[in-house]
């Protein structure tokens, strides 16, 4: 029984699969051979016809739909039509040694960032020592004066980090973004896994896969570890902007799976620097708040006075140490994309170690030489605003028109601090089922990881969210830009 594993001779849903040169294909080697750890998946999938696979996909879609993991689409004829976020049934698989290295790198990076945030709100030693330019920090719109001199309980600022990684054509992982304000997506990791278990249960028997289910428990432990002093059984809550927020499903999912209350700003009030929630039995003290609203809306007294999402007086209670806010306000000053380029130096400075995870080389338009280089080589670069997320406002040079590049030259020249540029990275591709052709085709992917830091505790979710750019050739994986996702398996042995 000689089984052939070359992509050009595979049957069924892989019939037309082409291995793209110049990009790393996670599933196939450049000569078309199947990567060892994917063989059992390929064996199984080759037994399916296109019709079988479409049916499986419908099952999976229905499962998401019924769970309410949807977003609303508004149009004139269709009131309340809802769609699911696209989900691909081919899991992304990461081997144990590769993951071990990633995990070490993620902890190293996020611990260094935590020390950095503490420093910029206290002695500012790293700025004084000239490792990071002070004007970069003080010009950041996320640098929060209200945080100067504040000591968060347990010494942690970035309790939850959603580090984005890509695998380049050189076979190495690179960090793309640090996301330490309010990273989302973890509910998809857990729901994707549940859906996979319902749909492709027979595949799970063939692999030994690390579980993702303990994340809510780990998150709750993290929250409890940073409760205010003297509170034995802390009341932890999630603060959401409400049901109309696009990530509401995730807020509710996390609250339910941790067994804690999901609260809106209007449910809370502050009295004598303690935070309370309004319950049917009267006020109840709140100790730890995992907030899913941005800094500027947290407290109308301290930040944006027009905010109706936040709680007046919350920052006062926080500064008194009577409540913990997760992540701490002001962490955004460290996930600015211009600060990103200094993270390797930040790691060396605080930990005296070499960075384990690589950074993508970054041109900072505020520097004259970089500015000049970016203007001249825009078609080979990705240009990004430093303080946006969700893939908004970026230009991918190779896919841009002349007019778009002209527009960006004008934007950059007008506000050089706001823009950085990076070489276009060869995001790896992964076989993905495309419904239009009923075939697997290569599509670009990245990986969002989730790292938790608590008082004397650290945890990395085993896997993460592999995001897929569903449009052929596209490098933008954000869900707001037509991206989908995959279950991500970390192998145990």
């Amino acid at each position: 029984m000689g089984q052939t594993y070359k992509s050009e001779v595979l049957p069924g849903v892989f019939k037309n699969y082409e291995v793209i040169q110049n990009f790393l294909d996670e599933v196939f080697l450049q000569d078309g051979q199947v990567n060892n750890h994917y063989r059992k998946v390929i064996d199984l999938f080759c037994k399916y016809s296109s019709a079988n696979f479409n049916e499986l996909k419908e099952h999976a879609n229905l499962s998401f739909f019924n769970q309410g993991i949807t977003f609303a689409v508004y149009s004139d004829e269709n009131r309340g039509v809802e769609r699911i976020f696209p989900f691909d049934l081919f899991p992304r698989i990461i081997t144990a040694p590769e993951w071990a290295q990633l995990e070490k790198g993620l902890i190293q990076r996020n611990e260094a960032i935590n020390l950095f945030i503490h420093d910029i709100y206290h002695k500012k030693q790293i700025l004084k020592d000239g490792v990071v330019p002070p004007e970069l920090i003080f010009s950041s719109k996320h640098y929060s004066k209200a945080m100067i001199g504040v000591n968060p309980i347990g010494g942690i600022y970035n309790h939850i980090s959603g580090t984005d990684l890509i695998k380049h054509s050189d076979g190495e992982y690179y960090v793309l973004e640090d996301n330490i304000r309010s990273p989302s997506g973890v509910s998809y990791v857990l729901s994707n896994r549940e859906t996979m278990k319902k749909t492709l249960f027979n595949l799970f028997r063939k692999y030994n896969i690390q579980s993702v289910q303990e994340y809510p428990q780990q998150l709750l432990n993290t929250m409890q570890s940073v409760a205010p002093d003297g509170v034995d059984s802390p009341t932890c809550i999630i603060l959401t902007p409400g049901v109309y927020n696009s990530a509401y499903y995730e807020h509710a999912f996390l609250a339910l799976s941790m067994g804690i209350s999901l609260v809106e700003g209007r449910d809370l009030f502050v009295d004598k620097n303690f935070v309370y929630m309004k319950t049917i039995h009267g006020p109840k003290r709140v100790d730890v708040i995992y907030r899913r609203i941005d800094d500027e809306f947290l407290d109308p007294l301290a930040f944006n006075p027009n905010s109706v999402l936040g709680v007046p007086g919350l920052m006062g209670a926080y500064r008194e140490g009577n409540v913990t806010i997760i992540n701490a306000p002001g962490t955004g000053a460290a996930d600015d994309k211009a600060v990103y380029s200094y993270v390797p130096d930040i790691i060396r400075y605080y930990l005296n170690e070499e960075p384990i995870l690589k950074n993508v080389h970054t041109y900072r338009c505020e520097l004259d030489s970089d500015f000049k280089y970016v203007l001249e080589n825009m078609e080979n670069l990705v240009v990004k605003p430093v303080d946006e997320s969700g893939g908004y406002g970026i230009l991918i040079g190779s896919n841009s028109t002349k007019a778009e590049r002209e527009e960006f030259r004008r934007l950059i020249t007008a506000d050089r601090r706001k823009y950085i540029a990076q070489p276009i990275m060869g995001l790896s591709v992964h076989s993905t089922f495309i419904q239009e052709t009923s075939q697997f085709e290569p599509r670009h992917i990245d990986l969002r990881t989730f790292t938790l830091l608590g008082k004397d505790k650290k945890f990395v979710l085993q896997g993460g969210l592999s995001r897929v750019a569903l449009t052929k050739g596209s490098l933008v994986v954000n869900s707001s830009q037509g991206g989908g996702s995959k279950d991500t398996w970390v192998l145990a042995e």
Binding site: Q67, G68, E82, Y248, A255, M277, K278, I280
Partner: protein
């Protein structure tokens, strides 16, 4: 429990019960009119539906005349009707979504599926399938959801608050059904007294409250005015009667254990006082002026609901 969540759960229960009763009443009235024992005008039935659901004036703001298709679509799905069945179900889902972290996934998914199956009804599909199938779908889903409420939730404040909503709304709906049918009969009597027509109205009244079969079992007789009223208003063991629902309302209040429950100004006191009104009264006492009694009863029920909201569910 947050007061806001309490409010969502209470209204989840109310809208669930309301959607079910509006659907059933519309179905029973309309379907039984198709082969009514006497020639009775269609308009009469359509008017009865609009009266019971409180949509009469809203309907005539949009339409000049009564037509089957217009009335049935207006009551069930019309986007121009903010109290349609579809609107109730959207509210149920919105409330459940707001209280997502308090209820089980099974309950939430049942509500979410319910919402989507109603939302997928177009006007054409509705007219093709007819009011019977549509209402049956609403009633079935409502039963499934109540099954999840009763079988997947802890008997704690979440369950109690949904229960408060269900029972107060059911008491109000049944009260409204009886009042509407009494008015219907009165109109006929004024025109021309027909005893078989009157019995027919009591049959549809009992069926609208899913009470017909149990009525027969209990009384072993044909439907008649006195006993059908007694059954729906005073029977303390029948889950659709006003008395039963007010007793359960008070029981839920007691289980919520508000500290002021012993106080004479407390909600527990009010709820108990109102429930007594039905437990220790006979049909003979109120038969003479039954409409006045029911009008007062309905306004007492609404007042009790308002007291609950103002006292505990404000945020």
């Amino acid at each position: 429990m947050l007061s806001r969540i309490g409010n969502s759960l209470f209204w989840l229960g109310r809208y669930l019960e309301r959607a079910e009763h509006v659907a059933r009443y519309t179905k029973v009235q309309y379907v039984s009119s198709l082969d009514a024992p006497l020639v009775q005008s269609k308009e009469f039935v359509l008017e009865s539906i609009l009266n019971m659901t409180g949509m009469y004036s809203n309907y005539f703001n949009k339409f000049d005349a009564l037509s089957d298709d217009d009335v049935l679509y207006f009551v069930t799905l019309s986007k121009s009707n903010p109290s349609s069945i579809a609107a109730c179900i959207a509210y149920i889902r919105e409330n459940a979504r707001g209280a997502r972290d308090s209820i089980s996934s099974e309950l939430w998914e049942a509500i979410n599926r319910f919402y989507h199956s109603v939302n997928s009804f177009t006007e054409t599909k509705f007219h093709n399938e007819g009011i019977f199938n549509f209402s049956q779908m609403i009633e079935n889903n409502s039963s499934v959801i109540k099954g999840y409420i009763d079988n997947t939730l802890i008997r704690n404040e979440v369950w109690n608050l949904i229960g408060l909503g269900v029972h107060i709304e059911r008491a109000a709906q049944v009260n409204t059904i009886i009042l509407t049918k009494l008015n219907d009969i009165e109109k006929h009597v004024i025109k021309k007294y027909e005893s078989s027509l009157e019995n027919y109205q009591y049959n549809t009244m009992l069926k609208s409250a899913e009470a017909f079969d149990m009525f027969k079992r209990l009384y072993n007789t044909n439907t008649n005015r006195k006993q059908s009223l007694e059954f729906l208003i005073f029977n303390p063991k029948f889950p659709k009667s006003i008395a039963y629902n007010l007793i359960l309302f008070q029981k839920n209040i007691q289980e919520l254990g508000f500290p002021e429950n012993g106080n004479i100004q407390s909600l527990n006191f009010w709820a108990g006082k109102l429930a007594c009104n039905y437990q220790y009264k006979t049909i003979e006492e109120v038969e003479g002026d039954i409409k006045e009694f029911l009008k007062q009863s309905l306004s007492n029920i609404f007042e009790l609901a308002t007291k609950l909201e103002n006292k505990y569910l404000k945020f």
